[in-house]
Amino acid sequence: MLKAYLIKRALMTIPTMLILLTIIFLIMRVLPGDPVAAIVGTKAPPEVIQSVTRRLGLDQPYHIQYINYLSDLLRGDLGRSMIWGRRPVIDEIMDHFPATLELSISAFMVSILIGIITGTEAARKFRSKFDQVLRFYGILTYSLFIPWFGIMLQLIFSVYLKLLPVGGRIDPFMEPEKITGLYLLDSILTLNIPSFFNALSHLVLPSITLGVYISGVFTRTVRSNMLEVLRKDYITAARARGIPENVVVYRHALKNAFIPILTMMGLQFALLLAGAVLTETTFSWPGMGTFLLERIMYRDYTTVQGTVVFIALLIVSISLLVDIMYAYLDPRIRFR
């Protein structure tokens, strides 16, 4: 039964993907700005413009362009960059994605940890002073201006206390041998202890900045879902059996509250993977956010389009993953 559910769910991603790809295609065509002009400049002679247009396939009618675009994607070809040596877009993405992935995972862990503990405790002490403070925290962090918060952390921990580096992902010549592109993981795999600590020290501030920023949403979501679950009969029944309060809250209630929270978390994580432009810029983090922003400035159409497709694919896969986790968590889905 589980298998049937998973197959059904996986098939459902196909139309979603198709709609996404079409929208991306359309947006890229109606966006202001001329890619050819971006490459050759506005003062180029007409024959140069013509040849570049032909080379990019932009002289074709839209429906042909659309078919070419889809068939290329089907072969896993995201195209080539329009600038800087026409590198394959996928290579460009892979240069930046591990940095974003590493930051996303650690920021996500920070936010989940903060979100779950604060949200749960706020729900337990519903309407107390403590609850009020945490609710305020939820709003405060959500409205936090990341560059300001990041700079404050840099000032305190890097400039005054000199504990952590100001920015960047790792010090020069400290990069571990590339296996996955995730510095922490690679340095563990190659047993490169100095690299590991160097990369870790660079990761701390951006992870906290980004982690705190999203933790507020988690605090609020965990709180409201926990409040609902804590009112359920089976929670009273568990208490009535003498199950200690901490076990009731963190084992019985949290697991039940987690099911609706999971969707929100999956979505947040997917958004992180798209690159947190503000955090990455503040900490000179060479990730997807900075990369995408830079290429939009250059009107590097194929790269932007390829990157957006890549991100869309990621989001769809993560929502599929979330649904698989649902089935794992909730027997009512598993046995349906």
Binding site: F126, K232, D233, Y234, T236, A237, A238, R239, A240, R241, G242, I243, P244, E245, V247, H252, K255, N256, L329, D330, P331, R332, F335
Partner: protein, 321 residues
């Protein structure tokens, strides 16, 4: 019979925005070892609040504001959270009204039982497992359903699981709060039979809370009647049926539909239960009482006992003082 539970002048209030809801307002009663006390009353009469207060689980904004609950020599109202948790499930357990929502949907049936045993007793896992299976068998659930989830069980089966959970650690007292209300009539009879057998087997006391005096009379030794936060009458079950003293009890008995009844229409008590934020002055039943006199409207009656028969009504207070 030895007294197991002694409730004296218990007051449980809910401090809501509308005002103070006096859900249980000075109730005293005793339960002896091995005795089944049926607690009946309309919805909102405070009977469930009384039940849950015995486990110290009155939901906020409610709390016990006065009186005492002495269980086997222990003053429950003064226990710390940790001390109370040791009593819950092990010495006092509870069966809830709605079996559909009383089991954790993400936990296997067997795990509910094993967790309960292992929290109270320091025994190895396989022994806890054996005892859980035995408890399930005792309520008529085959061992192969040990690893099923609650949603794979019917309502009646789930209530059996709740009963298995309640008798698991052989408690002295079981609080059964409307254990059959959510079930159909056939299953209702089965559950009542099961409770009755288990109670004889283990010599447990049961506080059976129900709005249905018919169901209660099937296994109760004594019946207590609550109205608007007050205990209005308590006596042996035969006495209550044969010779009810309080006008509310008589009305309640007349409202039980009987198949052989000669009346065409069902009897009901006119009016509705009072608002417990602003209860009526005097006797709380007086606005609906056919025998109400002036004193009933102004002064609250004393509780008088005529042998083992307790009643709170001016008709039985000899002098109007």
């Amino acid at each position: 019979m030895k007294c197991l539970l002694n409730i004296n002048e218990l007051k449980v209030y809910y401090f809501t925005r509308r005002g103070v809801v006096r859900a249980v307002d000075g109730v005293s009663l005793n339960i002896s070892r091995g005795e089944v006390l049926g607690l009946v009353g309309e919805s909102g009469s405070g009977k469930s609040t009384l039940g849950i207060s015995l486990l110290g689980l009155v939901p906020p904004p409610g709390r016990v504001v006065g009186g005492s609950i002495i269980f086997d020599g222990i003053e429950l109202t003064k226990l710390s959270a940790d001390e109370f948790a040791k009593i819950r499930g092990r010495r006092i357990s509870m069966i809830f009204q709605d079996p559909m929502t009383s089991l954790n949907p993400l936990m296997k049936i067997g795990d509910h039982l094993m967790e309960t045993i292992m929290i109270h007793e320091n025994i190895p896992k396989n022994e806890a497992r054996e005892r859980s299976i035995k408890a399930l068998e005792e309520v008529g659930i085959p061992p192969e359903r040990f690893n099923d989830y609650p949603h794979q069980f019917s309502g009646g089966m789930r209530q059996r699981v709740m009963i298995a959970l309640a008798i698991l650690l052989n408690p002295d007292l079981i609080i059964a709060d409307e254990p059959t209300t959510a079930l159909d009539v056939i299953v209702q009879a089965q559950i009542i039979d099961l409770l009755n057998n288990l109670r004889k087997q283990y010599n447990m006391s049961i506080l059976l809370i129900s709005h249905d005096i018919g169901v209660v009379s099937e296994i109760a030794d004594k019946i207590a009647v609550m109205y608007a936060g007050h205990l209005v009458e308590m006596a042996d079950v035969d006495v209550i049926f044969k010779d009810p003293l309080h006008p509310y009890t008589s009305a309640l008995l007349r409202a039980v539909p009987l198949i052989e009844s000669k009346y065409e229409k069902l009897y009901y008590i006119p009016g509705s239960p009072p608002d417990l934020v602003n209860p009526p002055k005097g006797c709380r039943f007086h606005p609906r009482c056919p025998h109400a006199t002036d004193i009933c409207r102004t002064r609250e009656p004393r509780t008088v006992s005529i042998e083992d028969h307790i009643v709170k009504c001016w008709m039985y207070c000899d002098t109007y003082e």
